[in-house]
């Protein structure tokens, strides 16, 4: 795939000529375009929550949620600086909403996930329904739905924002608009979506065009309970421990069409076998402590730290205490496009 082409004066002259015509020679770039294995600028990296938290509080003193529209610090992959990306295709930021604040209503093509890190009692409203958020909750704001956030508790509220901003950019498909009012009108009772869609039941005759799950809050309490029961079975995947993906109950597919979201339990003392896959992944431990080796790097982590495993780099996890990790990647997209590959080592 890397033709070894000698350059002659005639050839160089030719390249110059066609360059004027918006043309270039494939044989000079084919090796860079079509690589034998993924070659990504994305780097393994870790952000400590303690540090993020301090910066966020500092930001909280510098700007209001309203002025900022969203008071978020973007986590930028060190290999992709200036691009507002945490991996090549995905975005991550940490958002702070202070007591009494509102992040005003808007909507956009970009889909967002919120993974709650600290605080209780703030809410997200989506399409006329509010949900109150607690640590470990996974909340979705589907593509082009009105959403706003508010904090009526007495504590600052922190969560991780995961969005498909680079992906929507790549497809030149961004649309967005703001609402005249800060908060959208509430039309449905809290918990209505979860009651109708989240209990292995669906409304008779439901027709749904959206590919995003109508369950817009997957409460941690519920998820944790599932892990607690499933772990009794004492069957562990050598590469993942016990790893589940969040689903859209209407289709059984991923909860979001562009972002795969996962929850994973590693029992105390468990070490995973090496694994690699093409979906660069953002990990957020929510319970426990341990370490992860990615390529040549080793990250020690505890609750709410955030780290990245790039595409096709070998990864192993080791849990010193029973650990629960949330993660997200573009795996659903790669699967739909027949691009996803994984390698489970010699397991």
């Amino acid at each position: 795939m890397e033709p070894n082409v000698q350059q002659t004066p005639e050839r160089l002259a030719f390249y110059n000529k066609i360059d004027q015509q918006n043309m270039s020679a494939l044989w000079n770039v084919m090796g860079a375009l079509i690589t034998p294995e993924p070659r990504s600028a994305c780097q393994p990296s870790l952000w400590r929550f303690d540090a993020i938290r301090d910066y966020m509080l500092e930001a909280g003193a510098l700007i209001t949620a309203k002025e900022a529209e969203r008071r978020v610090l973007i986590l930028e992959n060190p290999g992709l600086r200036g691009q507002s990306k945490i991996t090549t295709s995905l975005y991550a930021g940490v958002q702070l909403v202070q007591p009494g604040e509102v992040a005003p209503a808007h909507r956009h093509s970009q889909s967002a996930l919120r993974f709650v890190l600290e605080g209780k009692g703030a809410h997200t409203a989506v399409d006329g329904e509010r949900t109150v958020m607690e640590p470990g909750d996974f909340v979705i704001t589907p593509s082009f739905t009105w959403h706003d956030h508010g904090n009526s508790s007495s504590e600052p509220m922190f969560w991780l924002d995961g969005l498909d901003i680079p992906l929507v950019q790549f497809f030149d498909a961004s649309f967005a608009e703001g609402l005249d009012e800060d908060e959208q009108p509430i039309k449905r009772a809290a918990g209505d979506s979860f009651a109708r869609y989240g209990h292995n039941l669906l409304p008779v005759g439901l027709k749904r065009a959206s590919k995003t799950s109508p369950v817009f809050n997957y409460p941690y309490q519920h998820t944790r309970e599932a892990l607690e029961v499933a772990k009794r079975q004492d069957e562990w995947d050598p590469c993942h421990g016990l790893k589940l993906r969040y689903t859209n109950p209407v289709t059984g597919d991923y909860a979001m069409p562009t972002i795969g979201t996962f929850i994973q339990l590693l029992p105390k003392g468990f070490s995973t076998s090496r694994y690699r896959s093409t979906d660069a992944t953002v990990f957020v431990p929510i319970e426990g402590r341990g370490r992860t080796r990615v390529g040549d790097k080793v990250f020690e982590w505890g609750p709410k730290d955030i780290f990245i495993v790039p595409s096709w780099q070998w990864v192993t996890h080791e849990a010193d205490e029973e650990a629960v990790m949330f993660s997200y990647s573009d795996r659903p997209v790669q699967e739909k496009l027949d691009l996803f590959r994984e390698d489970r080592g010699n397991v």
Copy 2:
């Protein structure tokens, strides 16, 4: 569709002649085969649980679960006697397992649902996992999975069995076998399936060939909670009140490929608008009292009574108290075959 054909001696002679060749004339039967609207032998009918219960206990004294293999009284539609059918395509029976009894392990092509009517503490084991059953629970034994039932409580346990026996018969596709032992070996912890599949989560990389839900017990507690929250929204379907279908979380489709199962709440005092559909339906109120008009008949019902609405007969429900009804029909099959039709009156 009903040609008015005169019969002449020549024609009659011809019919006799072709009859010898295993042939017959379509024009003499077309009106009966292809009717302008469904014409079914299935009749509206109701069985009171109190009466069934008495007969069951009498049966309990006459035969053991082991001798009977399954101690079940079949509910036979009065229009379809001798065919072991409650509707044209479906079967219903009521099963009793006495304290200490076992209904031995077997498996068969026929899919079964259990809807628990009375008793606590009996279990069903399916494919190496046990579930303990309580009133209102909807339990599945998928096609060709090993299953056995036992009762280690001190009370008799009654449930409704709904099977696709007539349907499997119609397709000449019955297979069955018994196990040498009464009870199958237990390989998975109780609750494991519900933990892995019933929480809007699925194991990463799951491949599943079966079209039946891996959640094999849908506990009533969980279902009732969903109804309780959803009813706050105070939005009622004129024909159904609040009606949800049980789903297979792997696909979002019905929980079973051959039988649709539903749960429905009618608020106190609610009267539904008339409705008809092509899927003859078995109803089982589990809470509340009311009445249902089917064609010219009116059935007064209370908890655990069982009644039938045949295909394409107008039905209205009226609830004197807040009522919850379980129901099942062949709707998933009709939908897959483009045969399902419904008529919501003039709503």
Copy 3:
């Protein structure tokens, strides 16, 4: 699955008592309902086209297509007489349209296939489009579409009608109506459907609710050409030779939701390995001669003969000349319901 229950006077008295209540004891019938293998009344059988043809022409002299609405002789399975069935779930008849005749427009829930046996130049009109039929053509009239037939050629036209009449009956889902006029108005050019849907192309933005293929004539010329090229590969399935199923290009699924249709080539001298499956099948050789063993019976066949293989009976085919066979069964339904099974012997 066949409990060996002793009958006592008390038990017999009990059976009588519950019989009054529309109830019966499962343990007395379970062995008949849930069999270890399919036990069908459907029998292997063959009808010679020559004989059918003679009877049809006789019928042609006795009744017009218009008086009969459809001048069809039903092929009744010898094990299922009086039920207008060729297998437990399907219907077959042979239809004759004489030159100048019209079989008037009607529509019904039942789906129909036409497989043309003899004659050229008759047409079927479906939903405003006409197709001219030739031997070997497979033509669909989808559920509840207007259809009429006419013969503007100078020869009698014979085709096999395959319908899902028993299946629609079983689901109590029959609807039908006639049109005031004999022939429906023509709104689309002949060949339009095949051009738009039959060339591995589909209209941009197509939304289609029906599960039936929009290609309503699969011309034999086209099908035969596919077989002719594919046979060069000289790869034969031991049980089937070269067997293809007709598809709905919109979904890749079977061409009709309720009936699977197949075309199959056996090279000269080929003998298949034994095979059995749960879908009772109607076979129609269109070219070649050979014999088929079904259970203990052997049928010698030539072009246009029609024979039946019931569910789960071993079948082998032997071709004396290169043979092409059309066939149909309820396999798509059984697959959708997780009921289909096949056994390829020890291949």
Copy 4:
């Protein structure tokens, strides 16, 4: 979506500080990331085939197909120079294979389409089967299948290569390898795939993991015939004339998972209504002459010219002669991700 944030010395200092931590403030970039409408660097552009042809022949004299591995000139979008992209997500190049040459066998994650522009008799081999190519043929080399090209005719052969190179790059999912030999061994007869999969028939029991169509050559003769018949219906879409998409007969979905391919007929004198959509599209007229307005630009085109319509720019076509245009875009991806939008003006 564009918060108007005042920058203060404290804020600027804060930005500097977090920059060291691989963090940045969302409020400074949100307006650029989440735009109210697509803002793309991709520009409308046209390349004349005559010019391309001359450059290609010049390249033919400078380098052999074997030395170049693929002798291709990339068409680079003027707004995306240096990135080997014709739109933000797709690649286009023109390939020349001279008589007697071979472009050696390799395989890669990137999917490719070939749309034949000039010449007859060259072949593409894919997974052991060869197809001979003619002008207007649309040929697929699916992801990670071995493929090589050869020209045993006496004329140079030109085709357009459309690949998803930028997309595979964006997902960091490139794999590739070469074969030791120039040409792969041939295992299947020419035409076998089209016979088995391209005639509205599929092999019984087919299981297929790939999302790409098994029909790897869609011959223009076949496609043109479909257009010729369909145009008789004289029904035109105001925005598209008669536009069809190539399909994967196994699923009815697009022929390739990452690239949508289309064929479109405009009758003589037809002018389309304005239309815009989020999928930037590469157009290649193969018959006829006309002009296309994209935003403020107007392109006059004839056979084999190649032009680009970027995302969300208004486009109208006008045909001076009956015209047929091939086109491709990332529409299937956008549809799968719920990102696709179109605007049909006020039609």
